[in-house]
C-alpha cells in the first residue's frame, strides 16, 4: 500500500527572467515502512519536491496523496501525518531545548501536560535529556541535528521527511542517525523519505533509491538493481551508477570513500 503517491507533480517558479521549471513531473510511489533514498545532483528538484510533499509549497501541476490525504485539497490532513526536518533545521538559537520541544508538541495540539511528557520522552529517546535546559545555540552540530529530528517526530508521524539529515555531521553522529532511522522504521513502521548527497548513506540505509535529474525521475529501484542496470554490474559502486544515470562527469577509477 502506497503511503506517498505522486503523479506528474510539478512546480514552476516565475522569476524576472522567465519561468523556471524546478520540478517538471515526478511520479513516485512509496510503500508503508519503506526507507526511500531520494538522490540527485544539486538543483535537480529534490528540496522543491520535498517542500511540495510537506505542504510548504503549492504544486503548479500534477497530483499527490500523502498518508491518504490529498496534497492540494487536504493540506491540514497531510500536516498531521508527516514530520519534516529541513536542511537548515529550524530552531531558535535563543530558546531552550525544552521550550522548543514543548512548543512543538503544543503546535501539534497536545495539551500542556502531554506536551511536557512528550518532550521528556523525545529527549530520552534521542539522548537530549541532559541538554533540556540549555539554549539551542549552545548545542553541538550532532546535538542540534538530534533536536531537529526530535521536533519532526513530536507527533509520531507516519511519514518522516529528512532533507540531507547528515550533512555536516561527524562519522559517529552519522552512524547514530542511521541507527535511529532504522529503529523508527522497525519499531514504529515509519516511512522515511530522505534526500542525501552521500551515496554510501543511500547504499547503507535505503530500501529503494529514486534518482531525480532536471526535475524528473531518472531512475528508480533497489540499490542493487540500479547498479546492475546502470552501473554495469551488481558490484559497481553507487557512485558509478549515479554518474551513469545523471551523465555528470566520468566515473572515478579508484574507490575512495564518496564522502566522509
Amino acid at each position: 500500500m502506497a503511503v506517498i503517491s505522486t503523479s506528474g507533480l510539478a512546480r514552476t517558479f516565475t522569476t524576472r527572467r522567465g519561468p523556471v521549471e524546478a520540478v517538471r513531473g515526478v511520479d513516485l510511489r512509496v510503500g508503508a515502512g519503506e526507507i526511500l533514498g531520494f538522490l540527485g545532483p544539486n538543483g535537480a528538484g529534490k528540496t522543491t519536491t520535498l517542500r511540495m510533499l510537506t505542504t510548504l509549497l503549492a504544486p503548479t501541476g500534477g497530483a499527490a496523496t500523502v498518508a491518504g490525504h490529498d496534497l492540494v485539497t487536504d493540506p491540514a490532513g497531510v500536516r498531521r501525518a508527516v514530520g519534516y526536518v529541513a536542511q537548515s533545521g529550524g530552531v531558535d538559537p535563543n530558546v531552550s531545548v525544552r521550550e522548543e520541544l514543548v512548543t512543538q508538541g503544543r503546535l501539534y495540539r497536545l495539551t500542556r501536560t502531554q506536551a511536557a511528557d512528550r518532550a521528556e520522552e523525545l529527549a530520552a529517546d534521542l539522548g537530549l535529556t541532559d541538554l533540556l535546559d540549555r539554549r539551542t545555540a549552545a548545542l553541538s552540530g550532532g546535538q542540534r541535528r538530534r533536536l531537529d529530528i526530535a521536533l519532526g517526530l513530536t507527533h509520531r508521524p507516519r511519514v518522516l521527511f529528512l532533507d540531507e539529515p547528515t550533512t555536516g555531521l561527524d562519522p559517529g553522529s552519522r552512524a547514530d542517525l542511521w541507527d535511529l532511522v532504522r529503529r523508527l522504521r522497525d519499531e514504529h513502521g515509519t516511512t522515511v523519505f530522505l534526500t542525501t548527497h552521500y551515496l554510501d548513506e543511500a547504499d547503507a540505509l535505503a530500501d529503494r533509491i529514486v534518482v531525480v535529474d532536471k526535475g524528473v525521475v531518472a531512475a528508480d529501484g533497489t540499490p542493487s538493481a540500479l547498479k546492475l542496470a546502470h552501473g554495469g554490474s551488481i558490484d559497481a559502486t553507487l557512485q558509478e551508477t549515479f554518474l551513469a544515470i545523471t551523465g555528470r562527469g566520468p566515473a572515478p577509477v579508484d574507490t575512495t570513500p564518496v564522502a566522509v
Partner: protein, 251 residues
C-alpha cells in the same frame, strides 16, 4: 475557533517570553518619542496650536502614534531572522493555524507598544499634560489598532524579502513620510492647503485627528467617527493581507 484562540495564545506566549527576557527590547522603542517629549515638547508650550487645550494635548497623541508607527513597522525584522533559521517553515509544517502565526506575533507587539505608550503618557503627565482619563484610554485604543495594522503589514513584507538590508530601507521610506504627512508632530491645521489635502491620503492622519479630539474630551465628533472607521478598516485590511502571505509564504 477554539484552536485559533489556543494557537494564538501559544504563539503569543512564545514571543512574549522572548520579549520579557530582553529589557533592551522592552524599553528601546520608547527612546525616540521620549526625546521628542523632553526636548521638542517644551518648544510648543507657548504656541497657539489648539483652541481647545494645551500644546501637550496636541503633541502627546502624535508621539504615541509615532511610537506605534515606528515600532510596529519594524516588527518584521524578527521574522527575517526566524525565516533564515528555518523556524517559520518548521511551524508552517505543523497544523497550527496560519492566522495564529500572525496574530500571536501581532498581539505581542500590541502588548509591548501599549506598555511603552503607558510609560510615555506617565512621562507626559510629569511634563505638564492634563487630559481626561477616558480620552487617554481611547488614545491607547488607537495605538493598539495602529500597531495591529502596521505590524501585520510589516510581517507580510518581511516574509517576502530575503534580507534585513532590503527590509530596513523600504520600511524607513514608508514610515518617515507617513509621520511627516500625518501631522504627528504639529497639527496639519497649520499646513498650506495642498499639504493638508495630501495628508488625507495617510490613514494615520485620521487617527491622530481623532486622538487629539479625545485628549480634549470631545468624543462625538466627525474626526472621531472617521478616525475609528479608518483605524478599524486599516486593521482588517492589514490582517487579511498578513494572513494571506503567511498562508502562502516562502515562495
Amino acid at each position: 475557533m477554539r484552536t485559533l484562540t489556543t494557537d494564538t495564545l501559544l504563539i503569543f506566549g512564545r514571543y512574549a517570553r522572548q520579549t520579557l527576557s530582553s529589557k533592551f527590547q522592552i524599553l528601546f522603542g520608547i527612546l525616540m518619542p521620549l526625546l521628542y517629549l523632553l526636548f521638542f515638547g517644551p518648544l510648543l508650550t507657548d504656541l497657539p496650536l489648539s483652541a481647545a487645550g494645551s500644546s501637550w494635548q496636541v503633541l502627546v497623541p502624535g508621539l504615541l502614534l509615532q511610537l506605534g508607527l515606528f515600532g510596529a513597522s519594524f516588527a518584521g525584522f524578527s521574522v527575517i531572522l526566524e525565516k533564515n533559521n528555518g523556524v517559520v517553515e518548521r511551524m508552517r509544517v505543523t497544523p497550527v493555524s496560519r492566522l495564529a502565526l500572525l496574530l500571536g506575533r501581532v498581539l505581542r507587539d500590541t502588548a509591548l507598544f501599549l506598555f511603552q505608550a503607558v510609560l510615555l503618557v506617565l512621562a507626559a503627565l510629569a511634563m505638564g499634560l492634563r487630559a481626561p482619563l477616558a480620552g487617554i484610554l481611547i488614545g491607547f485604543g488607537f495605538v493598539a489598532l495602529l500597531t495591529v495594522s502596521l505590524a501585520s503589514l510589516s510581517y507580510a513584507l518581511a516574509l517576502r524579502v530575503a534580507t534585513p538590508q532590503e527590509f530596513g530601507p523600504v520600511v524607513n521610506a514608508v514610515a518617515m513620510p507617513s509621520m511627516l504627512l500625518s501631522g504627528l508632530m504639529l497639527p496639519m491645521a497649520l499646513a498650506p492647503g495642498w499639504l493638508d489635502v495630501l495628508s488625507h491620503v495617510m490613514p494615520v492622519r485620521y487617527l491622530v485627528d481623532a486622538m487629539r479630539d479625545a485628549y480634549v474630551g470631545e468624543y462625538a465628533t466627525a474626526h472621531m467617527l472617521y478616525g475609528s472607521l479608518v483605524a478599524l478598516a486599516f486593521a482588517a485590511l492589514a490582517v487579511t493581507v498578513g494572513t494571506r502571505v503567511f498562508r502562502r509564504a516562502g515562495a
